[in-house]
Symmetry: C2
Subunit: 203 residues, 2 copies
């Protein structure tokens, strides 16, 4: 069972309780899925409308992209929770002997890397929605302009959630090569998103 099978109300309740999962990463993935869904809706409200004939093909593309991406984003909700739980499990391993301490440290580093990779993948998925966000904002039905604007605000925010989760986990990772390549990849995505946001806001 996926946590996204829970009701919206219960999911919100689970976020708020004392357990650290679902946390910012999982919530970010839900919000990104909502952003993707709004883009899809804007495109649905544009297709077949008078005056928007020129954008028909692009809007059909936005619909497929939004549909595909929102499902992938929802999968990341569970993955993020799982990755964080693995970190918690590693932290609880015994450090009684030198051998056990070594095993614990290895497991912890491994789980931390995974806990970076999941929000990085979230950021990557969000960045792939940039062309659709730009199309919805520029060519989408003007009556749904507030929905296109909402979508880009949500994608930007969920990207921030993803990045915050990459960064906090990177702080505990000892593999410098992993850290610097992850930082570089994250910065690259950040540049992409910022460009997309300013392009959308220009319309």
């Amino acid at each position: 069972m996926s946590i996204t099978d829970k009701s919206v109300k219960d999911f919100v309740e689970e976020v708020s309780n004392k357990s650290p999962t679902p946390g910012g990463g999982a919530v970010g993935a839900v919000v990104a899925a909502l952003g993707a869904a709004l883009l899809e809706m804007v495109a649905q409200l544009t297709v077949g409308k008078k005056g928007y004939e020129d954008y028909e093909v692009e809007m059909e593309r936005v619909i497929s992209e939004g549909d595909y991406r929102k499902k992938k984003l929802l999968e990341l909700v569970d993955e993020d929770i799982e990755a964080f739980n693995e970190v918690m499990k590693s932290l609880k391993l015994s450090k009684d002997t030198l051998e056990k301490k070594k095993i614990r440290s290895e497991k912890l580093q491994e789980s931390l890397k995974k806990a970076c990779e999941v929000p990085y993948n979230l950021a990557l998925e969000i960045s792939k929605l940039c062309p659709s966000a730009e199309s919805a904002n520029e060519f989408g039905n003007k009556n749904a302009k507030s929905d296109a604007e909402s979508a880009i605000a949500l994608l930007e925010a969920s990207f921030r959630c993803a990045l915050a989760n990459v960064e906090i986990n990177l702080k505990s990772i000892k593999d410098h090569e992993f850290v610097s390549s992850m930082e570089e990849a994250a910065r690259e995505l950040e540049g992409k998103i910022e460009k997309c946001v300013s392009k959308c806001k220009g319309n």
Copy 2:
């Protein structure tokens, strides 16, 4: 039944389909509730922790505030959908006679005002979370810093959703006094949120 009783997955699906509801306003209310829930979680993870004794009282306040506010925000999800549906209903009224045209116009203006007030109330609720967002970011458990950062990103984005929905509906309202007082009130809230966001990012 509230739409927030639907599963996260089904809610995302409903957003994406051809019907304009749930749209950016309703989605913004869900995202704001998730932001409130994250603030509550950060406070839960701070209370009782060594080194955070001085913030115990404030964190207990954040917990109550987050709990109260997330529930109010979830109620706004249904209210937003209802308000938009009323606009749609007014638009479908007959304009066959002069009398009917007049009635339709009055109903439409009335429903548009309501469709402005609901997202305005959403923006207002979000602004009331500012002190909690600042406390969670400044004094919250450092291990949950990424969650506090995620929360403020989500509150900012949901505020943008609310504002976009106020603005798009204001465009069709003929009561100039209503429009200018709503615009002024919205700008005031915007100033509050921007201050809060830059304060949170400074920590």
